[in-house]
Symmetry: C2
Subunit: 180 residues, 2 copies
DNA sequence: AACCGTTTTTGATCTAGATCAAAAGAAACC
DNA sequence: GGTTTCTTTTGATCTAGATCAAAAACGGTT
């Protein structure tokens, strides 16, 4: 999820256009309903991304240090985002505004290519999650989360993780307790 | 899902590199386990894309006339695909080989940009499907399928549609019968 | 260390949809 | 046109996980 910054030279030429931003624990970074205006490179901290469906908050992504955060549905299309992002820890980011990024896409050599590859990564990640929901049991999804993101278990409230995994908090709690 | 061909000039400059290919009903177009070598612009016909998970075939995409088909997980990354694609009707496509497309990415102005936008579209579609699985009932998924793809109901065997919708064939049949 | 709000666990019950099994309809084939 | 094979429907039962409800555990705060 961070290949857009996979090239050191490219990152260097972006840095001069970036701002540093700080967010307190609990602070909303971008709100659903507005057009996403910035892309963030997270230096330190942890963010959850969620949306509302059938009256519930569904957590669809966690982004932490050294990862990239953006409202993909909005930032690249210009439509209002359905996602809200919120800092779960004190968080520090470099941010790049949409207008700067558009300028960069037009003027920095190789940027479209990195944009394309960034999208391919995001897509692959989503395919994984889709398949896990369709063909794995709650237990299996938990196991696979533990393999890939075990560090988050101690940094994120259980309810957010359970919604990320597509199950109720009670179910996740029970799965966890019968482990040992 | 066809924005890569959204630009007439671009399509024109691609055409000279393309082949015409025909597939009989039931014919396998690309097989899981190999690296996807071609991207297809479907002129006529219908294709299902599926993969195996827990011993079952799961249908994840239908592509029909005027749409684009490719093993996104493989074609752009060079890894073997997990997807098999099969013609459900006699199907006619323009195809463009990976090596040609790479050449095009390097030599045709604006191609990276179209690749990026193509990925954004594919991503948006997948987000829709993911959300529908997580937050909608079987009935609601069926309803939404009927709104967006009602034509497919008469062209595709029920079992493929039910697996696309993430439910058993019996369930889909029952939902359909209680409609009227 | 006692209080209060939040998060997690535990228990009891319920239900959408899966699974198993078989019948009924459609297509394909000789 | 009748037999075989594939597809869809119908019926009966079962289960993973949801829902509802309450108790326990965990911080912070004064």
């Amino acid at each position: 999820m961070n290949s857009i910054f996979g090239s050191p030279e490219l990152l260097e030429s972006l840095k001069e256009h970036m701002q540093i931003e700080q967010f307190a624990k609990g602070e909303i970074i971008e709100q659903a309903g507005v057009v996403s205006k910035r892309i963030f490179f997270i230096k330190k901290g942890l963010i959850r991304v969620f949306y509302r469906a059938s009256g519930k908050e569904i957590c669809c992504h966690f982004a932490k240090e050294n990862e990239v955060l953006t409202g993909i549905d909005s930032f690249f299309t210009g439509k209002p985002t359905i996602y809200t992002s919120q800092a779960l820890e004190p968080t520090e980011c470099y941010s790049l505004s949409k207008s700067k990024l558009d300028w960069v896409f037009d003027h920095v050599e190789g940027m479209d290519r990195y944009g394309r590859i960034f999208m391919i990564d995001a897509y692959s990640e989503l395919v994984e999650r889709y398949n896990s929901i369709v063909s794995m049991s709650a237990q299996e999804r938990y196991d696979s989360f533990m393999v890939n993101h075990s560090d988050l278990l101690n940094r994120v409230p259980l309810g957010y993780i359970s919604s990320y995994l597509g199950m109720q908090q009670e179910t996740l709690s029970r799965i966890r307790s019968r482990q040992n």
